[in-house]
């Protein structure tokens, strides 16, 4: 059980440690770059691991995976542009916090909670791998369908805007996700232009919907409505931030738990971990109305969840060669190149390599936190850059980032188009998060529904297939609860508003009467 300690010194050999530090710092910077997602970063680094020792190569990939996930929060907080899909939920409260002049604290919360979530995730990987991998395998199309639907129930309440606008944006996102080829049967849909041939890439959509409206706003003169508000960064001691983060332990626990769970489920897409955790924390919180306006618990939940996902996403990968997240799927290639075949034998035949890798993930969490906080200190210099330079830099990064995903200019056109449309939509109160969530969840829900339908047709029938069995029942229950709870709190809020208005009116009537 404590076998991992035996290989801990391996992480600290000069060469390995240097690679770990380089991977972490590089990962934080790559992660903060819009368009360079963890999946991209790991994929880009795989060729470099060719000529390294297997353990060293894996340390580099692991460090990049860990720190890009956390690094994405930097741009999410400072610029309201999530570095990767996993950081969408971080923008919701992180950016309002920054605008209130609490950017440093927001960044501190983010790295501290990432560290806590990440360590919990790696411990799950160390201690529960054999038990949980079998459990993870049990997730079939019907269960994944319900997980995606659970994500859909979050859409309406995302952000602080109106529910109807949220639902509408989510619907647009779901529609966008159907463009291109049908994931199961390969039928072309909404394929009006050559540029849409491969469907809309999620990274292109993410960058377009978040970064381009920001760029356009930056170029708007500050006096005009819609101009970006400049903010200064405060100084905050790390100890205070640690204390404030730990005070919100409920968000940490919920975030880490959901991150672990979502990471374990193969095919659920780790990107939704942050969003689901954010939503649950909001629902459990006593001051719900603060969410979306700069509530530290929102940042803490989202960031602890997306880092807690890292370790568990490797659980099914290492024992069964079934990746738990898109990034883990790319990592599989990195393992195979070195002749490391995931499976039960991996831990016996290649114990030194595997344990060194897992240990490096653990040490990497600490390094990520330390370097992240250092980056937070220097971010102020980035924020001092005049807006027009910033806008130009972001545009360049957005274009390069989008192009590099599939080496395709079509993606760049799609990104620009979506961005410009989003800019105008944001003027009338629509927000980009529900759209991206729709794009992420659409294919998961659709392909699993179709697959499940095909299996059910020749088997036990659709109803039994989608609603039978303990796991389905639990998931349907959670979905139902989520919907009922949202409706309930919405109605309660309306009622409160109405009574408040009524009181106001009564008061005014009284005043006038007098």
């Amino acid at each position: 059980m404590l076998e991992f300690l035996q290989y801990l010194p391996e992480v600290f050999t000069p060469w390995n440690f240097m690679i770990l530090v380089l991977g972490t710092v590089g990962g934080l910077i790559l992660g903060a770059t819009p368009g360079l997602s963890p999946t991209m970063a790991v994929a880009l680094l795989i060729p470099f691991t060719f000529h390294m020792e297997p353990a060293t190569g894996l340390i580099l990939l692991g460090a990049a995976y860990t720190s890009t996930v956390a690094g994405g929060a930097v741009s999410a907080i400072l610029l309201s542009i999530p570095g990767a899909p996993a950081n969408i939920a971080t923008t919701l409260d992180g950016n309002p916090l920054a605008k209130q002049g609490k950017a440093t604290s927001a960044l501190h919360y983010c790295f501290i909670s990432s560290f806590v979530g990440g360590v919990i995730g790696v411990f799950v990987l160390i201690f529960f791998t054999p038990t949980l991998s079998e459990w993870a395998l049990g997730f079939g199309p019907s269960h994944l369908f319900w997980v995606a639907i659970l994500g859909v129930t979050v859409i309406g309440t995302l952000g602080s805007g109106s529910v109807v606008k949220g639902l509408f944006s989510g619907f647009v996102g779901l529609w966008i996700s159907t463009i291109g080829y049908d994931p199961v049967l390969g039928v072309e849909r909404f394929n009006y232009s050559e540029h849409l041939g491969g469907g809309i890439n999620i990274i292109a959509a993410l960058v377009g919907l978040f970064a381009i409206p920001q760029v356009l706003s930056m170029l708007t003169p500050q006096m005009m409505p819609g101009g970006v508000q400049k903010f200064a960064m405060e100084t905050q001691s790390v100890m205070t931030s640690v204390k404030e983060t730990l005070q919100r332990w409920k968000a940490l626990v919920v975030g880490s738990f959901i991150g672990v769970l979502v990471g374990l489920i193969p095919g659920a897409g780790g990107q939704i971990a942050g969003l689901v955790a954010y939503d649950q924390t909001k629902k459990l919180s006593r001051n719900k109305e603060m969410f979306g306006k700069g509530e530290p618990a929102g940042v803490i939940a989202a960031e602890s969840a997306n880092n807690a996902m890292v370790g568990p996403s490797l659980v099914p990968l290492l024992t069964l060669s079934v990746p738990g997240s898109p990034t883990a799927a790319v990592l599989l290639g990195g393992l195979l190149i070195h002749g490391l075949f995931p499976g039960p034998a991996l831990f016996t035949e290649h114990a030194p390599v595997v344990w060194t890798f897992i240990n490096s993930l653990l040490v990497g969490q600490l390094l990520m936190c330390v370097f992240g906080i250092m980056i937070a200190r220097y971010s102020r210099f980035v924020m001092d850059i005049p807006e027009f330079y910033m806008a130009a830099a972001i545009t360049v990064l957005a274009v390069f980032g989008t192009f590099s995903v599939q080496n395709s200019f079509s993606d760049v056109f799609v990104m620009m188009t979506l961005g410009v449309v989003m800019y105008f939509a944001s003027k009338i109160g629509f927000s980009p998060s529900p759209v991206v969530l729709g794009i992420i969840l659409g294919p998961i829900a659709e392909s699993n529904f179709l697959q499940g339908q095909m299996i059910a047709e020749v088997g036990e029938g659709s109803f039994t297939y989608f609603f039978g069995g303990p796991l389905n029942i639990v998931l349907v229950g959670v979905v139902a609860m989520s919907i009922v709870y949202s409706a309930y709190s919405e109605l309660k809020q309306k009622k409160q508003q109405r009574t408040a208005q009524q009181n106001d009116a009564d008061y005014r009537a009284e005043q006038e009467g007098v």
């Binding site: 795989i46 395998l137 041939g197 491969g198 069964l320 990746p323 002749g339 080496n407």
Partner: protein, 330 residues
């Protein structure tokens, strides 16, 4: 003034014409020893980290050696729609000068060119050499009641359509193997397309489907979690799975049409001397000890075929696939 402008225009035009002419004549001027003088790129139609991608990276890692190309090969991933995006791009946009190559997957691209409207087919592409062959195998979960192909077939006979098969999508090797198996055995079974080989394998392991067709290399790696019942090839795989019978041994006439062949190709119109240079050097690079060692460490079966052999193989596959897929449409 006016005339000077005119003459300048004329000069520009002449220069442009000269430039165009020299560029046009370039392919003819390229001598076997001059090519390649800069890095060669290769389009891979699947995402980084996938089997095709990492094999492509392994087999091209020695390209920089003087005895092979003397120039490195750069991989360019263009994934999407089961490979269609990358191949459509390649067959319509890539340069025909030998500096822009692509990786092929047979039967995928041939089957797609038959079923869908694609910009590629075997007539507008030129094979250079084949590096690997990964046969499809029939796998069932570790706890499955089926221990032999006969078990599965007799169950399928009594329960039409009830045996569900996973595979990496439509019109890929796994699907072709399934179609052949269904046709030759006369059994009614159900194919459930997945998004790739890995999710398809997961469905078999997790018991979401009763069986699956998957790559031999992937099945071999997962041999602790699945049972491998048969190989869709002409011979048993003596290196990785010596004990697993072929379909033919079991009396089902499934040949090697579904074997996933991977190799390098160029566009039609590439200068013949460049093609012949590449088709001489590239197979040697594939056969290098370092390459084969790395390939077998990654569990990937190597099968090097020359340009002539691949041309023949492509033609045979197309004829057979047209017949098989026409049956399907009826």
């Amino acid at each position: 003034m006016f005339s000077s402008k005119m003459s300048r225009k004329l000069a520009t035009k002449t220069l442009t014409a000269l430039g165009v002419a020299s560029v046009l004549s370039l392919p003819q001027m390229v001598q076997a020893d001059a090519f390649p003088e800069r890095p060669v790129s290769m389009v891979v139609s699947y995402s980084p980290g996938g089997a095709t991608d990492f094999q492509a990276r392994i087999v091209t890692m020695l390209a920089g050696n003087e005895s092979y190309l003397g120039q490195p090969m750069v991989i360019l991933n263009k994934p999407g729609a089961g490979g269609k995006i990358g191949w459509d791009f390649y067959a319509s946009k890539a340069k025909k000068n030998g500096y822009e190559l692509a990786a092929y997957n047979v039967p995928h691209f041939i089957a797609q060119s038959i079923v869908f409207k694609t910009k590629y087919n075997i007539d507008n592409l030129e094979p250079i050499a084949n590096w690997g062959a990964d046969p499809a195998v029939l796998v069932v979960g570790k706890d499955s009641p089926f221990n032999t192909l006969e078990d599965l077939m007799s169950f399928a006979k009594e329960n039409p359509k009830k045996v569900t098969f996973s595979g990496a999508g439509l019109y890929v090797g796994h699907h072709i193997a399934f179609l052949q198996f269904a046709k030759e055995s006369g059994l009614k079974m159900t194919y459930i397309p997945h998004k790739g080989g890995t999710p398809a394998m997961k469905s078999v392991m997790g018991g979401q489907v009763k069986a699956g067709f998957n790559n031999l290399s992937d099945a071999f790696r997962n041999k602790d979690s699945v049972k491998i019942l048969a190989v869709a090839d002409l011979q048993r795989n003596t290196k990785f799975l010596p004990d697993v019978p072929t379909f033919m041994e079991k009396g089902v006439n499934v040949d090697d049409s579904s074997v996933n062949f991977r190799g390098i190709m160029a566009r039609k119109g590439t200068p013949p001397e460049v093609l012949s240079y590449l088709s001489q050097r590239v197979p040697l690079m594939f056969e290098d000890n370092k390459t084969t060692k790395k390939m077998s460490a990654a569990g990937s079966p190597v099968r090097v075929l020359s340009r002539e052999e691949v041309i023949k193989m492509w033609k045979e596959r197309e004829v057979y696939l047209k017949e098989l897929l026409a049956d399907l449409k009826k």
